[in-house]
């Protein structure tokens, strides 16, 4: 029997295999990954110091354990070089050299990569980003015995790193083009609450600014901002978002846009080839975060085993781990709404409503995060109905 081949050992790939195994023990499954295939929970990378965990502590299961538990053959430290969509096979290159694997179904769970900003200077290549455990290991070794960390980006990941580091005796600078933290996800009132909750002596904000150059100055890095301001720091961390990994799919002539284009059953433009998680794009939306990948894995497992199932994602709220100001965001997929803010001091409720007054999304700070469950019930169901043109 030809196997189901999954590319990528992140949350999407591993959860898919676990869901497949809940339904079927017989179909062979091969997991190909450029990584080591040890499992870890990626959102913990931006809060591990506060959790008292080292990079090694974050590993939940080693690859051998995953193989045993899920009845899957893992081919680690291996890249997929090309895909022959006509004959249903792929060429891989790893520790054991090149070989070819035939597949029954192929699943892209290849994730996304950090967006790299155009930065000048002789130390521009020293700017770090963290999207894998290995990158996090490097980051932790770079900040060891150091004091000053500059973070580019005040979005979900940047703000969590800012919280984690400023709680742990680091001096943090946060640089962001916008006017307040999480600007794309919540209104100014809540942004101000978050901003003011950080202690001034541990964190300095630089809004309306970007990083222009990073130069080596002895042991330190000299960072020049677009405002002309110069800062001397030890480490620069870029957290300005991710872009789906589409190159391999593109080379195989699979339809791609920002992500790998899939329909509501997570099928790509090619028969027996699917995509889920951070690399996939459905109805013009990429679906980042853990939860959509979990729901996608459940639906796709059924489809792979013969019961074609549409993805259905309920309204979801994301907790942003800011120790001084707990924050929950339920992002709206629909634009054109208006924020309506309620509450006192730092305990704020922001409702994002359309012209009919229906709730499209929300954001909560402080004690108001206890309203999450009731507001999720009030929200309109997410609309992902725009039909995707599939090339067959």
């Amino acid at each position: 029997m030809k196997p189901i081949v999954v590319i990528g050992s992140g949350h999407a790939g591993v959860t898919l295999i676990r869901e497949v195994r809940q339904l079927d023990l017989k179909t062979p499954v091969i997991l190909i990954t450029k990584d080591k295939a040890n499992t870890y929970y990626k959102p913990n990378l931006s809060k591990a110091i506060s959790m008292g965990k080292s990079p090694d502590d974050l590993v939940m299961k080693c690859a051998e354990q995953v193989e045993l538990d899920l009845g899957v053959q893992i081919v680690s430290n291996t890249v997929v070089e090309s895909i022959d969509t006509v004959n249903g096979s792929l060429k891989i290159n790893g520790a054991e050299g090149q070989c070819s694997i035939a597949y029954k179904d192929l699943v892209f769970a290849v994730g996304a990569a950090p967006i790299e900003l155009p930065i000048n200077g002789d130390a521009a290549d020293q700017v770090l980003s963290v999207n894998t455990l290995d990158e996090y290991r490097l980051f932790r070794s770079e900040i060891k015995d150091k004091t000053n960390v500059l973070i580019i980006g005040a979005g979900f990941v940047g703000i969590e790193f800012a919280s984690d580091l400023s709680n742990s005796d680091y001096q943090v600078d946060v640089v962001d083009m916008g006017d307040w933290p999480l600007q794309r996800s919540l209104p100014e009132e809540l942004g101000s609450s978050i901003r003011n909750s950080f202690k001034e002596d541990t964190l300095t904000w630089h809004f309306g600014a970007s990083v222009v150059t990073v130069n080596r100055q002895g042991e330190k890095l000299e960072v020049t901002l677009s405002t002309g301001k110069k800062l001397m720091v030890d480490v620069v961390l870029s957290a300005v978002g991710i872009k789906p990994n589409i190159q391999l799919a593109k080379e195989a002539n699979i339809s791609v846009n920002r992500g790998i284009v899939v329909d509501e059953c997570l099928r790509t433009s090619h028969k027996n080839i699917y995509a889920l998680g951070d690399c996939a794009e459905l109805s013009g939306y990429t679906l980042p975060f853990i939860a959509p990948a979990t729901f996608s894995a459940k639906a796709l497992a059924k489809t792979l085993l013969g019961t074609v199932s549409e993805l259905s994602i309920p309204n979801l709220a994301v907790a942003v781990k800011i120790s001084t100001c707990p924050t929950v965001v339920c992002p709206s997929l629909t634009q054109g709404g208006v924020w309506d803010v309620d509450g006192e001091s730092n305990d704020l409720i922001a409702r994002y409503k359309n012209s009919e007054g229906q709730l499209l999304g929300f954001a909560l700070t402080g004690k108001a995060i206890s309203q999450k469950v009731s507001l999720l019930k009030e929200c309109l169901s997410p609309v992902l109905t725009k039909q995707v043109e599939l090339v067959s």
Partner: protein
């Protein structure tokens, strides 16, 4: 009188612990709620894994 001790369950995806003694008050699950009494359609508040994706912590 025999009192069944409170148990803890761990999410397979994100390592979150459900402690029956503490519950998840912010999720509408009162302290003391037994794991089996949580609705089957409940999902992990951290990562949305299914209730069935929690395992008993020994």
């Amino acid at each position: 009188m025999n009192v069944v001790p409170y148990k803890k369950y761990c999410c397979v995806t994100c390592d979150l612990i459900y402690d029956e003694e503490i519950g998840f008050p912010e999720e509408g699950i009162a302290p003391g709620t037994r794991f089996e009494d949580i609705p089957d359609d409940w999902t992990c508040p951290e990562c949305s894994a299914s209730k069935s994706d929690f395992f008993l912590v020994e």
